[in-house]
Amino acid sequence: MTVATEISDQLLRLPEASAVALRLKSEQYFDAIQGMLDLFAAKKDLNVIYITSTVPSQSIINALEVLEVPMDHIWFIDCISQIMMSTEKRHAHAISVESPTMLENLMLKVEFVLRKNPDRNALVVLDSINSLAIHNNTKILSEFLHILVNNLRSRGAYSVIFSMQEYETDEIRNMLVLVSDEILELSES
């Protein structure tokens, strides 16, 4: 079983409105994205809201294009391109937030995309807790996750929080335990 199918299968077993922490190794990163966006979200007819603070949205979009994943139901909230002063052209489905420290604005953009696309249930991916932790202290980050996840839960949306195992700290692990219904790990492949 590939990483992509494994993650899709694990997510399919969960009820709607689940909040999941996904502990990943770096080499599993792009396969995990494919599993969630191409397999899981497509099977469940979900809109995907992908919050990226790790790599610019355009890098992920480029990878998705190579994999021929349709972008019709995927939106990006990108809080890293602006801070990098990236001059790359922004995709029509990518919304920029000035900085990863503007956590309230991340929530506002999620709300905006949800309102604009009320026709389907949503999967909100947060990539990643580790990169947000570079820019924010644990207190404000916990508060952010708590509000965001509970808001999504009340709307029946799935939330998946990426955590790169190599960069996890005890504080991050505690935070994930606090807000998640499930903590998933993928098998060694």
């Binding site: 000035e98 952010f144 509000i147």
Partner: protein, 256 residues
């Protein structure tokens, strides 16, 4: 608050603004007939909030009127966010009306910079007349500060606002009066009398946190309803004004 009094308060009819975040903060909307000061410095979203309030009202068949003092209506409409829910038919059907106050001054023969006590009263009567004639349920005066500049003296400003508020309330018209403030945020209005006379005060502002500038909104006063007094962060979008709670975990400059 004693429970009897609280029950009486909760029974007041609401003017549901249609701005979900604000209605949530106010436990269902602005008590019908209240005069609310929307106060803040430039670029904080006051006009956008007011225009959304009027459009949402017009969509619910509540006739709405925007009185513009400083900016001509056609210029204002061009600059307003192209809201998804805005329908030009509302203007054609007269449910949403825009009027430039300088045109009213002209009609009334007011050509001096300074308004006398009597001219202030005449202006109130004219506005209330418009409300009555057009069955207006929602009114925005943008801005009360500009009118107050022409009234100049505190006594005249007080009389204008008090009379306007009372007469609009008697007509069951819920009104938002825009007040422009400086950047220091020490007062909610330029003269200090506006906030004392209004039934409610909604303050918009800019909050700097570690180099980020966030637009904020806080309801500091609203007669007739229990409400949150917490600070919220707002975003002006094509779907309307969106609000989320201000996160408190971070360091905040200026003790805001």
């Amino acid at each position: 608050m004693p429970s009897k009094e609280r029950d009486a308060v909760s029974e007041r009819e609401r003017c549901v603004t249609g701005i979900e975040g604000i209605d949530h903060i106010l436990n269902g909307g602005i008590p019908r007939g209240n005069t609310v000061l929307v106060s803040g410095s430039v670029g904080t979203g006051k006009t956008s909030i007011c225009i959304e309030f009027l459009i949402r009202g017009a969509l619910e068949a509540e006739n709405s009127l925007y009185l513009s003092v400083t900016e001509p209506t056609d210029k204002l409409l061009k600059n307003v966010i192209p809201y998804d829910f805005f329908d030009e038919k509302l203007i054609k059907q007269g449910k949403l009306q825009f009027l430039d106050l300088p045109k009213i001054y002209e009609k009334l023969g007011i050509d001096k910079d300074e308004l006398s006590f009597e001219e202030g009263r005449l202006l109130v009567d004219t506005i209330v007349g418009l409300v009555e004639e057009n069955h207006i349920r929602r009114l925005v005066l943008d801005s009360a500060t500009s009118v107050a500049y022409r009234l100049k003296e505190q006594e005249r400003i007080r009389d204008f606002l008090l009379r306007l508020g009372m007469m609009l309330s008697a007509k069951n018209c819920t009104s938002l009066l825009v007040a422009e403030t400086g950047h220091n945020g020490e007062m909610y209005s330029r003269w200090g009398v506006e906030e004392a006379l209004a039934d409610g005060v909604i303050v918009t502002g800019n909050l700097e946190r570690r180099g980020d500038l966030l637009r904020t909104l806080q309801v500091v006063k609203m007669r007739g309803t229990p409400h949150s007094r917490a600070k919220y962060v707002l975003d002006l979008t094509t779907s309307g004004v969106l609000l989320v709670p201000l996160l408190k975990g971070g360091s905040v400059a200026g003790g805001a």
